[in-house]
Symmetry: C2
Amino acid sequence: MADFTPLFDYIEKKSSVTLSDDERGLIMNKLKPKKLRKRQFFLQEGDVCKYMGFIIKGATRMFSVDERGHEHILHFGMEDWWVGDYESFHLLTPSKYYVEALEDTEMLLITSEQLNDMVRSIRAIAEMLESLGRGAAIANNKRMHAAISLTAEERYEDLAKTYPYFFNRFPQNMIASYLGISPETLSRIRKMALKA
Amino acid sequence: MADFTPLFDYIEKKSSVTLSDDERGLIMNKLKPKKLRKRQFFLQEGDVCKYMGFIIKGATRMFSVDERGHEHILHFGMEDWWVGDYESFHLLTPSKYYVEALEDTEMLLITSEQLNDMVRSIRAIAEMLESLGRGAAIANNKRMHAAISLTAEERYEDLAKTYPYFFNRFPQNMIASYLGISPETLSRIRKMALKA
DNA sequence: CCGGAACCTTGATATTTGTCAAGAAAAGGT
DNA sequence: ACCTTTTCTTGACAAATATCAAGGTTCCGG
Protein backbone atom coordinates (compact mmCIF):
# COMPACT_ATOMS: atom_id res chain seq x y z
CA MET A 1 0.00 0.00 0.00
CA ALA A 2 1.47 3.29 -1.08
CA ASP A 3 1.80 6.17 1.32
CA PHE A 4 -0.38 9.10 0.26
CA THR A 5 0.34 11.20 3.33
CA PRO A 6 2.95 13.44 1.69
CA LEU A 7 0.56 14.23 -1.15
CA PHE A 8 -2.34 15.02 1.18
CA ASP A 9 -0.12 17.26 3.26
CA TYR A 10 1.17 18.94 0.14
CA ILE A 11 -2.30 19.63 -1.24
CA GLU A 12 -3.54 21.02 2.05
CA LYS A 13 -0.51 23.20 2.47
CA LYS A 14 -0.59 24.60 -1.06
CA SER A 15 -4.34 25.15 -1.09
CA SER A 16 -4.97 26.08 2.55
CA VAL A 17 -8.03 23.85 2.32
CA THR A 18 -8.62 20.72 4.39
CA LEU A 19 -9.33 17.49 2.52
CA SER A 20 -12.36 15.46 3.56
CA ASP A 21 -12.15 11.69 3.93
CA ASP A 22 -14.17 11.32 0.74
CA GLU A 23 -11.75 13.50 -1.13
CA ARG A 24 -8.82 11.53 0.20
CA GLY A 25 -10.43 8.36 -0.99
CA LEU A 26 -11.01 9.86 -4.42
CA ILE A 27 -7.42 10.93 -4.69
CA MET A 28 -6.21 7.48 -3.68
CA ASN A 29 -8.32 5.99 -6.44
CA LYS A 30 -7.07 8.33 -9.12
CA LEU A 31 -3.33 8.34 -8.49
CA LYS A 32 -1.38 5.21 -9.21
CA PRO A 33 1.82 4.40 -7.34
CA LYS A 34 4.96 3.79 -9.33
CA LYS A 35 8.44 2.80 -8.26
CA LEU A 36 11.55 3.54 -10.27
CA ARG A 37 14.96 2.06 -9.64
CA LYS A 38 17.96 4.33 -9.79
CA ARG A 39 18.80 5.04 -13.49
CA GLN A 40 15.38 3.96 -14.65
CA PHE A 41 13.59 6.29 -17.04
CA PHE A 42 10.21 7.80 -16.37
CA LEU A 43 10.07 9.50 -19.78
CA GLN A 44 12.11 9.19 -22.95
CA GLU A 45 12.59 11.57 -25.84
CA GLY A 46 9.95 11.08 -28.51
CA ASP A 47 7.34 9.66 -26.14
CA VAL A 48 4.26 11.56 -25.05
CA CYS A 49 4.34 12.34 -21.34
CA LYS A 50 1.09 10.65 -20.32
CA TYR A 51 1.63 11.11 -16.59
CA MET A 52 2.82 13.73 -14.20
CA GLY A 53 4.48 12.22 -11.15
CA PHE A 54 4.42 13.43 -7.56
CA ILE A 55 7.56 12.31 -5.77
CA ILE A 56 7.03 10.63 -2.40
CA LYS A 57 10.65 9.66 -2.04
CA GLY A 58 13.66 9.91 -4.29
CA ALA A 59 15.01 12.27 -6.91
CA THR A 60 14.91 12.74 -10.68
CA ARG A 61 16.34 14.87 -13.41
CA MET A 62 14.72 16.06 -16.64
CA PHE A 63 17.20 16.67 -19.44
CA SER A 64 17.66 16.90 -23.16
CA VAL A 65 20.48 15.58 -25.32
CA ASP A 66 21.84 17.77 -28.11
CA GLU A 67 23.40 16.76 -31.44
CA ARG A 68 26.84 16.59 -29.89
CA GLY A 69 25.59 14.19 -27.26
CA HIS A 70 25.72 16.71 -24.44
CA GLU A 71 23.05 16.54 -21.78
CA HIS A 72 21.29 19.63 -20.46
CA ILE A 73 19.35 19.40 -17.22
CA LEU A 74 16.26 21.58 -17.21
CA HIS A 75 14.80 20.47 -13.88
CA PHE A 76 15.56 18.36 -10.88
CA GLY A 77 12.81 16.67 -8.92
CA MET A 78 12.66 15.49 -5.34
CA GLU A 79 10.21 14.89 -2.50
CA ASP A 80 7.05 17.00 -2.85
CA TRP A 81 7.79 18.04 -6.42
CA TRP A 82 5.83 17.24 -9.53
CA VAL A 83 7.87 15.91 -12.43
CA GLY A 84 7.19 15.39 -16.12
CA ASP A 85 7.25 17.37 -19.34
CA TYR A 86 4.43 19.82 -18.85
CA GLU A 87 4.26 20.76 -22.52
CA SER A 88 3.99 17.19 -23.72
CA PHE A 89 1.54 16.33 -20.95
CA HIS A 90 -0.88 19.09 -21.91
CA LEU A 91 -0.52 19.22 -25.67
CA LEU A 92 0.07 15.47 -26.11
CA THR A 93 3.09 16.19 -28.28
CA PRO A 94 6.22 14.01 -28.29
CA SER A 95 8.63 15.14 -25.62
CA LYS A 96 12.10 16.45 -26.31
CA TYR A 97 13.21 15.36 -22.85
CA TYR A 98 14.19 12.44 -20.72
CA VAL A 99 13.18 12.06 -17.08
CA GLU A 100 15.41 9.68 -15.17
CA ALA A 101 15.49 8.56 -11.54
CA LEU A 102 18.71 9.55 -9.80
CA GLU A 103 17.84 7.44 -6.77
CA ASP A 104 15.33 4.69 -6.12
CA THR A 105 12.14 6.71 -6.35
CA GLU A 106 8.49 6.35 -5.36
CA MET A 107 5.96 8.45 -7.20
CA LEU A 108 2.22 8.84 -7.58
CA LEU A 109 1.09 9.16 -11.20
CA ILE A 110 -1.82 11.03 -12.67
CA THR A 111 -3.10 11.43 -16.22
CA SER A 112 -4.38 14.61 -17.76
CA GLU A 113 -8.00 13.45 -17.73
CA GLN A 114 -7.82 12.30 -14.12
CA LEU A 115 -6.31 15.60 -13.14
CA ASN A 116 -9.10 17.48 -14.89
CA ASP A 117 -11.68 15.37 -13.10
CA MET A 118 -10.14 16.11 -9.76
CA VAL A 119 -9.83 19.82 -10.46
CA ARG A 120 -13.59 19.89 -10.99
CA SER A 121 -14.55 17.75 -8.03
CA ILE A 122 -12.03 18.77 -5.40
CA ARG A 123 -11.62 22.43 -4.61
CA ALA A 124 -8.29 21.92 -2.83
CA ILE A 125 -6.83 20.44 -6.01
CA ALA A 126 -7.88 23.42 -8.10
CA GLU A 127 -6.33 25.79 -5.59
CA MET A 128 -3.20 23.72 -5.33
CA LEU A 129 -2.78 23.99 -9.08
CA GLU A 130 -3.24 27.74 -9.03
CA SER A 131 -0.69 28.10 -6.28
CA LEU A 132 1.69 25.77 -8.07
CA GLY A 133 1.34 27.75 -11.29
CA ARG A 134 2.02 31.03 -9.55
CA GLY A 135 5.07 29.67 -7.76
CA ALA A 136 6.41 28.18 -10.96
CA ALA A 137 5.95 31.43 -12.87
CA ILE A 138 7.86 33.36 -10.22
CA ALA A 139 10.64 30.78 -10.01
CA ASN A 140 10.95 30.64 -13.80
CA ASN A 141 11.29 34.39 -14.02
CA LYS A 142 14.04 34.37 -11.44
CA ARG A 143 15.95 31.61 -13.15
CA MET A 144 15.56 33.26 -16.54
CA HIS A 145 16.73 36.56 -15.16
CA ALA A 146 19.77 34.87 -13.68
CA ALA A 147 20.50 33.23 -17.02
CA ILE A 148 20.56 36.46 -19.00
CA SER A 149 22.09 38.78 -16.43
CA LEU A 150 24.53 36.87 -14.24
CA THR A 151 27.96 35.37 -14.84
CA ALA A 152 28.55 31.66 -14.28
CA GLU A 153 30.00 32.41 -10.87
CA GLU A 154 27.08 34.56 -9.83
CA ARG A 155 24.62 31.92 -11.00
CA TYR A 156 26.46 29.35 -8.91
CA GLU A 157 26.26 31.53 -5.82
CA ASP A 158 22.61 32.22 -6.49
CA LEU A 159 21.88 28.52 -6.74
CA ALA A 160 23.85 27.78 -3.58
CA LYS A 161 21.61 30.23 -1.74
CA THR A 162 18.33 29.16 -3.31
CA TYR A 163 18.79 25.39 -3.28
CA PRO A 164 21.72 24.57 -0.97
CA TYR A 165 20.54 20.97 -0.61
CA PHE A 166 21.11 20.35 -4.32
CA PHE A 167 24.81 20.16 -3.51
CA ASN A 168 24.39 17.34 -1.02
CA ARG A 169 22.17 15.35 -3.28
CA PHE A 170 23.28 15.73 -6.89
CA PRO A 171 26.70 15.18 -8.44
CA GLN A 172 28.53 18.31 -9.36
CA ASN A 173 28.56 17.62 -13.09
CA MET A 174 24.76 17.59 -13.05
CA ILE A 175 24.62 20.85 -11.19
CA ALA A 176 26.93 22.29 -13.84
CA SER A 177 24.54 21.07 -16.51
CA TYR A 178 21.62 22.66 -14.66
CA LEU A 179 23.55 25.95 -14.56
CA GLY A 180 24.40 25.71 -18.24
CA ILE A 181 28.18 25.51 -17.73
CA SER A 182 30.79 22.78 -18.12
CA PRO A 183 31.75 20.58 -15.15
CA GLU A 184 35.32 21.87 -15.38
CA THR A 185 34.19 25.47 -15.07
CA LEU A 186 32.07 24.67 -12.04
CA SER A 187 34.99 22.88 -10.41
CA ARG A 188 37.18 25.94 -10.91
CA ILE A 189 34.51 28.32 -9.67
CA ARG A 190 34.18 26.33 -6.48
CA LYS A 191 37.92 26.40 -5.91
CA MET A 192 37.86 30.19 -6.23
CA ALA A 193 34.89 30.44 -3.87
CA LEU A 194 36.81 28.64 -1.13
CA LYS A 195 39.58 31.19 -1.07
CA ALA A 196 37.34 34.22 -1.30
CA MET B 1 -13.83 56.10 -24.22
CA ALA B 2 -11.30 53.34 -24.29
CA ASP B 3 -11.61 50.46 -26.68
CA PHE B 4 -12.17 47.19 -24.83
CA THR B 5 -12.71 45.11 -27.95
CA PRO B 6 -9.18 43.64 -28.03
CA LEU B 7 -9.51 42.51 -24.42
CA PHE B 8 -12.93 40.94 -24.96
CA ASP B 9 -11.66 39.13 -28.03
CA TYR B 10 -8.61 37.98 -26.13
CA ILE B 11 -10.61 36.62 -23.20
CA GLU B 12 -13.02 34.77 -25.46
CA LYS B 13 -10.23 33.31 -27.52
CA LYS B 14 -8.17 32.16 -24.55
CA SER B 15 -11.13 30.78 -22.62
CA SER B 16 -13.32 29.50 -25.46
CA VAL B 17 -16.23 31.00 -23.54
CA THR B 18 -18.49 33.78 -24.82
CA LEU B 19 -18.85 36.86 -22.66
CA SER B 20 -22.35 38.10 -21.85
CA ASP B 21 -23.21 41.79 -22.05
CA ASP B 22 -23.32 41.91 -18.26
CA GLU B 23 -19.87 40.46 -18.03
CA ARG B 24 -18.58 42.92 -20.58
CA GLY B 25 -20.03 45.74 -18.53
CA LEU B 26 -18.41 44.39 -15.38
CA ILE B 27 -15.04 44.17 -17.08
CA MET B 28 -15.35 47.74 -18.35
CA ASN B 29 -16.01 48.88 -14.81
CA LYS B 30 -13.06 47.06 -13.32
CA LEU B 31 -10.28 47.85 -15.78
CA LYS B 32 -9.02 51.37 -15.96
CA PRO B 33 -7.54 52.78 -19.17
CA LYS B 34 -4.06 54.21 -19.06
CA LYS B 35 -1.95 55.87 -21.70
CA LEU B 36 1.82 55.97 -21.64
CA ARG B 37 3.97 58.14 -23.86
CA LYS B 38 7.06 56.63 -25.39
CA ARG B 39 9.81 56.36 -22.74
CA GLN B 40 7.35 56.74 -19.91
CA PHE B 41 7.65 54.22 -17.08
CA PHE B 42 4.85 51.93 -16.01
CA LEU B 43 6.87 50.48 -13.12
CA GLN B 44 10.12 51.46 -11.46
CA GLU B 45 12.54 49.44 -9.37
CA GLY B 46 11.62 49.50 -5.71
CA ASP B 47 7.93 50.12 -6.31
CA VAL B 48 5.25 47.52 -5.76
CA CYS B 49 3.59 46.53 -9.02
CA LYS B 50 -0.01 47.38 -8.11
CA TYR B 51 -1.38 46.81 -11.58
CA MET B 52 -1.04 44.38 -14.40
CA GLY B 53 -1.57 46.02 -17.78
CA PHE B 54 -3.21 44.59 -20.88
CA ILE B 55 -1.80 46.27 -23.96
CA ILE B 56 -4.36 47.55 -26.46
CA LYS B 57 -1.79 49.31 -28.58
CA GLY B 58 1.92 49.88 -28.24
CA ALA B 59 4.92 48.06 -26.84
CA THR B 60 6.90 47.84 -23.59
CA ARG B 61 9.96 46.24 -22.11
CA MET B 62 10.56 44.95 -18.61
CA PHE B 63 14.19 45.10 -17.54
CA SER B 64 16.56 45.22 -14.61
CA VAL B 65 19.69 47.28 -14.15
CA ASP B 66 22.74 45.64 -12.59
CA GLU B 67 25.51 47.21 -10.49
CA ARG B 68 27.51 48.03 -13.59
CA GLY B 69 24.57 49.91 -15.04
CA HIS B 70 23.81 47.30 -17.67
CA GLU B 71 20.19 46.70 -18.56
CA HIS B 72 18.77 43.19 -18.95
CA ILE B 73 15.45 42.78 -20.72
CA LEU B 74 13.39 39.96 -19.25
CA HIS B 75 10.21 40.49 -21.27
CA PHE B 76 8.81 42.52 -24.10
CA GLY B 77 5.14 43.43 -24.25
CA MET B 78 2.91 44.30 -27.15
CA GLU B 79 -0.72 44.13 -28.29
CA ASP B 80 -2.66 41.40 -26.48
CA TRP B 81 0.03 40.80 -23.89
CA TRP B 82 -0.16 41.33 -20.16
CA VAL B 83 2.72 43.27 -18.65
CA GLY B 84 3.94 43.88 -15.14
CA ASP B 85 6.10 42.15 -12.53
CA TYR B 86 4.05 39.12 -11.64
CA GLU B 87 6.01 38.40 -8.47
CA SER B 88 5.62 41.90 -7.09
CA PHE B 89 1.96 42.00 -8.13
CA HIS B 90 1.09 38.84 -6.24
CA LEU B 91 3.35 39.06 -3.22
CA LEU B 92 3.22 42.86 -2.92
CA THR B 93 7.00 42.96 -2.68
CA PRO B 94 9.09 45.79 -4.15
CA SER B 95 9.96 45.06 -7.74
CA LYS B 96 13.49 44.62 -9.03
CA TYR B 97 12.36 45.69 -12.47
CA TYR B 98 11.42 48.62 -14.63
CA VAL B 99 8.62 48.51 -17.18
CA GLU B 100 8.94 51.21 -19.83
CA ALA B 101 6.87 52.09 -22.89
CA LEU B 102 8.87 51.71 -26.10
CA GLU B 103 6.10 53.38 -28.12
CA ASP B 104 3.07 55.44 -27.22
CA THR B 105 1.02 52.77 -25.48
CA GLU B 106 -2.59 52.25 -24.44
CA MET B 107 -3.26 49.76 -21.68
CA LEU B 108 -6.06 48.56 -19.44
CA LEU B 109 -5.05 48.23 -15.80
CA ILE B 110 -6.28 45.85 -13.14
CA THR B 111 -5.40 45.41 -9.47
CA SER B 112 -4.95 42.12 -7.70
CA GLU B 113 -8.25 42.45 -5.79
CA GLN B 114 -10.19 43.35 -8.90
CA LEU B 115 -8.70 40.42 -10.71
CA ASN B 116 -9.67 38.08 -7.89
CA ASP B 117 -13.23 39.44 -7.97
CA MET B 118 -13.48 38.84 -11.67
CA VAL B 119 -12.04 35.35 -11.44
CA ARG B 120 -14.86 34.46 -9.06
CA SER B 121 -17.67 36.14 -10.97
CA ILE B 122 -16.70 35.53 -14.59
CA ARG B 123 -15.94 32.02 -15.69
CA ALA B 124 -14.22 33.15 -18.88
CA ILE B 125 -11.71 35.13 -16.84
CA ALA B 126 -10.82 32.13 -14.70
CA GLU B 127 -10.30 30.02 -17.78
CA MET B 128 -8.31 32.72 -19.50
CA LEU B 129 -5.97 32.79 -16.52
CA GLU B 130 -5.52 29.04 -16.57
CA SER B 131 -4.76 29.09 -20.25
CA LEU B 132 -2.40 32.00 -19.81
CA GLY B 133 -0.58 30.21 -17.00
CA ARG B 134 -0.20 27.07 -19.06
CA GLY B 135 1.11 28.95 -22.07
CA ALA B 136 3.54 30.93 -19.93
CA ALA B 137 4.87 27.78 -18.27
CA ILE B 138 5.51 26.18 -21.64
CA ALA B 139 7.14 29.28 -23.10
CA ASN B 140 9.31 29.74 -20.02
CA ASN B 141 10.56 26.19 -20.23
CA LYS B 142 11.49 26.66 -23.85
CA ARG B 143 13.32 29.87 -23.21
CA MET B 144 15.13 28.41 -20.21
CA HIS B 145 16.13 25.37 -22.19
CA ALA B 146 17.50 27.61 -24.93
CA ALA B 147 19.45 29.59 -22.35
CA ILE B 148 21.27 26.59 -20.89
CA SER B 149 21.71 24.51 -24.01
CA LEU B 150 22.16 26.78 -27.04
CA THR B 151 24.97 29.05 -28.18
CA ALA B 152 24.35 32.75 -28.73
CA GLU B 153 23.96 32.14 -32.44
CA GLU B 154 21.47 29.31 -31.96
CA ARG B 155 19.46 31.39 -29.53
CA TYR B 156 19.31 34.17 -32.10
CA GLU B 157 18.03 31.79 -34.78
CA ASP B 158 15.52 30.33 -32.37
CA LEU B 159 14.22 33.79 -31.54
CA ALA B 160 14.04 34.73 -35.21
CA LYS B 161 11.79 31.73 -35.77
CA THR B 162 9.65 32.13 -32.68
CA TYR B 163 9.15 35.89 -32.69
CA PRO B 164 10.18 37.21 -36.12
CA TYR B 165 8.20 40.42 -35.60
CA PHE B 166 10.46 41.40 -32.68
CA PHE B 167 13.04 42.36 -35.27
CA ASN B 168 10.77 44.83 -37.02
CA ARG B 169 9.67 46.41 -33.82
CA PHE B 170 12.53 46.53 -31.34
CA PRO B 171 16.02 47.94 -31.74
CA GLN B 172 18.72 45.37 -32.10
CA ASN B 173 20.50 46.29 -28.91
CA MET B 174 17.35 45.47 -26.95
CA ILE B 175 17.01 42.14 -28.68
CA ALA B 176 20.61 41.44 -27.70
CA SER B 177 19.73 42.28 -24.11
CA TYR B 178 16.74 39.94 -24.27
CA LEU B 179 19.02 37.17 -25.55
CA GLY B 180 21.56 37.84 -22.84
CA ILE B 181 24.37 38.86 -25.20
CA SER B 182 26.11 42.13 -26.06
CA PRO B 183 24.89 44.28 -28.96
CA GLU B 184 28.23 43.85 -30.69
CA THR B 185 27.98 40.08 -30.56
CA LEU B 186 24.48 40.17 -32.01
CA SER B 187 25.65 42.45 -34.80
CA ARG B 188 28.41 40.00 -35.67
CA ILE B 189 26.12 37.01 -35.52
CA ARG B 190 23.76 38.65 -37.96
CA LYS B 191 26.57 39.38 -40.36
CA MET B 192 27.56 35.71 -40.28
CA ALA B 193 23.97 34.62 -40.78
CA LEU B 194 23.72 36.61 -44.00
CA LYS B 195 26.59 34.73 -45.62
CA ALA B 196 25.54 31.28 -44.44
C1' DC C 1 37.54 -5.88 0.17
C1' DC C 2 38.49 -5.62 -4.50
C1' DG C 3 37.92 -3.78 -9.13
C1' DG C 4 35.54 -1.01 -12.18
C1' DA C 5 32.80 2.86 -12.97
C1' DA C 6 31.59 7.35 -12.04
C1' DC C 7 33.08 11.58 -10.49
C1' DC C 8 36.21 15.42 -9.64
C1' DT C 9 40.29 18.19 -10.41
C1' DT C 10 43.96 20.33 -12.93
C1' DG C 11 46.63 22.05 -16.82
C1' DA C 12 47.14 23.52 -21.57
C1' DT C 13 44.89 25.39 -25.23
C1' DA C 14 40.98 26.83 -28.29
C1' DT C 15 36.75 29.17 -28.83
C1' DT C 16 33.30 32.24 -27.69
C1' DT C 17 31.83 36.33 -26.01
C1' DG C 18 32.54 40.87 -23.80
C1' DT C 19 34.67 45.48 -23.63
C1' DC C 20 36.24 49.71 -25.35
C1' DA C 21 36.58 53.02 -28.85
C1' DA C 22 35.51 55.15 -33.12
C1' DG C 23 32.92 56.11 -36.96
C1' DA C 24 28.86 55.27 -40.07
C1' DA C 25 24.08 54.89 -40.63
C1' DA C 26 19.45 55.57 -39.33
C1' DA C 27 15.77 57.70 -36.88
C1' DG C 28 13.34 61.46 -34.81
C1' DG C 29 12.09 66.10 -33.63
C1' DT C 30 11.38 70.85 -34.94
C1' DA D 1 15.66 69.60 -44.62
C1' DC D 2 18.76 69.93 -40.78
C1' DC D 3 20.60 68.86 -36.67
C1' DT D 4 20.75 65.84 -32.78
C1' DT D 5 20.31 61.58 -30.79
C1' DT D 6 20.10 56.89 -31.06
C1' DT D 7 21.43 52.80 -33.10
C1' DC D 8 24.45 49.81 -35.65
C1' DT D 9 28.89 48.22 -37.23
C1' DT D 10 33.75 47.24 -37.11
C1' DG D 11 38.34 46.42 -35.24
C1' DA D 12 41.61 45.38 -31.61
C1' DC D 13 42.01 43.42 -27.47
C1' DA D 14 40.62 41.24 -22.93
C1' DA D 15 38.05 38.10 -20.28
C1' DA D 16 35.16 34.18 -19.66
C1' DT D 17 34.18 29.70 -20.70
C1' DA D 18 34.67 25.31 -23.33
C1' DT D 19 37.38 21.50 -24.81
C1' DC D 20 40.68 17.92 -24.52
C1' DA D 21 43.55 15.00 -21.94
C1' DA D 22 45.36 12.95 -17.89
C1' DG D 23 45.45 11.57 -13.26
C1' DG D 24 43.42 11.18 -8.78
C1' DT D 25 39.37 10.38 -5.93
C1' DT D 26 35.26 8.37 -4.38
C1' DC D 27 31.62 5.29 -4.67
C1' DC D 28 29.33 0.99 -5.34
C1' DG D 29 28.30 -3.77 -6.66
C1' DG D 30 29.72 -8.31 -6.44
